[in-house]
Subunit: 278 residues, 2 copies
Amino acid sequence: MADSFAERFAAVRAALGPLVFGADPHGPVLRDWGLNDDADGLERFTDIVLGAAAGTVGLIKPQSAFYERHGWQGIRALARLVETARAEGLLVILDVKRGDVGSTNAAYAAAYLGDGAPLQADAITLSPYLGLGAMGEFVDRARLSAAGLFVVVRSSNPEGRAVQGAAAGGGLTVDQRLLADIGALNARLAPGVVGPVGAVVGAGRVDPPLDLAAANALLLAPGIGAQGAGPADVAATFAACPDRVLPSASRSLLAAGPDAGALRDAAARLNQELRALL
Amino acid sequence: MADSFAERFAAVRAALGPLVFGADPHGPVLRDWGLNDDADGLERFTDIVLGAAAGTVGLIKPQSAFYERHGWQGIRALARLVETARAEGLLVILDVKRGDVGSTNAAYAAAYLGDGAPLQADAITLSPYLGLGAMGEFVDRARLSAAGLFVVVRSSNPEGRAVQGAAAGGGLTVDQRLLADIGALNARLAPGVVGPVGAVVGAGRVDPPLDLAAANALLLAPGIGAQGAGPADVAATFAACPDRVLPSASRSLLAAGPDAGALRDAAARLNQELRALL
């Protein structure tokens, strides 16, 4: 059996640091880099990002939306990115935020998890409006392939509170309840160790509190730099379990491009800073 | 300015009936139809479904998961389905259930809505865990292109209650509050007429009640037949505004294939049945 995603994260964290490089080819980034805002520009973008990321960070997170924007040619570029990154030893978290009824989730799981998946990632993100209980197909396939899942629990944007801050019973908000349910699931799936079901938790907001350590989950913290939270905020928010946090930066890193050396330096610097704090 | 999605739905409903043909190439369906479970099988599947749907129903709804399962070749098949269906006069609802922070939603909107989108649909589905308030880019682009949006409000699966049934304040559950917010948005965007922001509402569950008529929204009711609800359930659930309901059937129709005539007969029969009830 392959090492679990949590074990593989621990290894790359020890070797290089916890930073996740967000490979998000926003239109403005492509323009700033002198690339065409088309599928060809995406291919060039991924080459530059891979050149900077490999050996500098342990993880890369492409956001699917920026590839879907270019249709099937964009997905072809994404597939090449995912495959090349994994071949170079990077862990790939594919940020797709999928989530549907069970039979549809089975198809999504087959698309992104396990041998034979056309875009096989090491981990994917999921969106839980249709319920954690509908995600059994994701959990089963993640376990079979030693992959990871990151369910959005508390997003970094304020508009998310309308749903995430609702009262889910027992004195818990929706996000608190979801994290507790993830913890119960991990305790059953992987007793005593960090489980396969992680959570996406924005670094900025701490109220109401989340019992982060109890979930025995990896915690993906997106948007470091661009969405308002810096390394010190990450350290403060996740003080209860700093070794389980995966801070992700995209636009704040990509601003250093397109020079691969400058990109690499920016990523190495941020990784060192996070390593010292977490 | 083109007719709004609501106006175009009203026209096809009057001509043919309200049924939405769910084009969901589940693995077992492909096998039952004697097709390969690969991108080539998908292309054959879409040809058969288009042959049966055009002239029989007014709307077709491909579920993206079943195309993503075959990587970029699957997305290429989906793009051809969407384009061909629209050229043949079908309205296409692309079931993608996307939803993220604002800047990512802008990329998703560019992928699926408006001229120049690589997979231009007439309407798409959205998932609101990150908030209706983060969907401004979808709303703006839908208005510019006279497209429709369907935000999941109440899903047809019981596991969804963990989030959708939480208490969102003012005595409303999350789904009730979301539908009220959609109604307020439609009243601002399209005063006095059916607005561009619709809702996905499962046909089976009626408790707690949803104020369906007040939202001035189209209502997509998925999974007729396969997920437990029949035409009579649709009529009962949506009695307050039967002319705004889009009942969608997939597996229960596809069971009549692969013969195009048998598929067409099954769709025509169900469309007639729904037309008589709604």
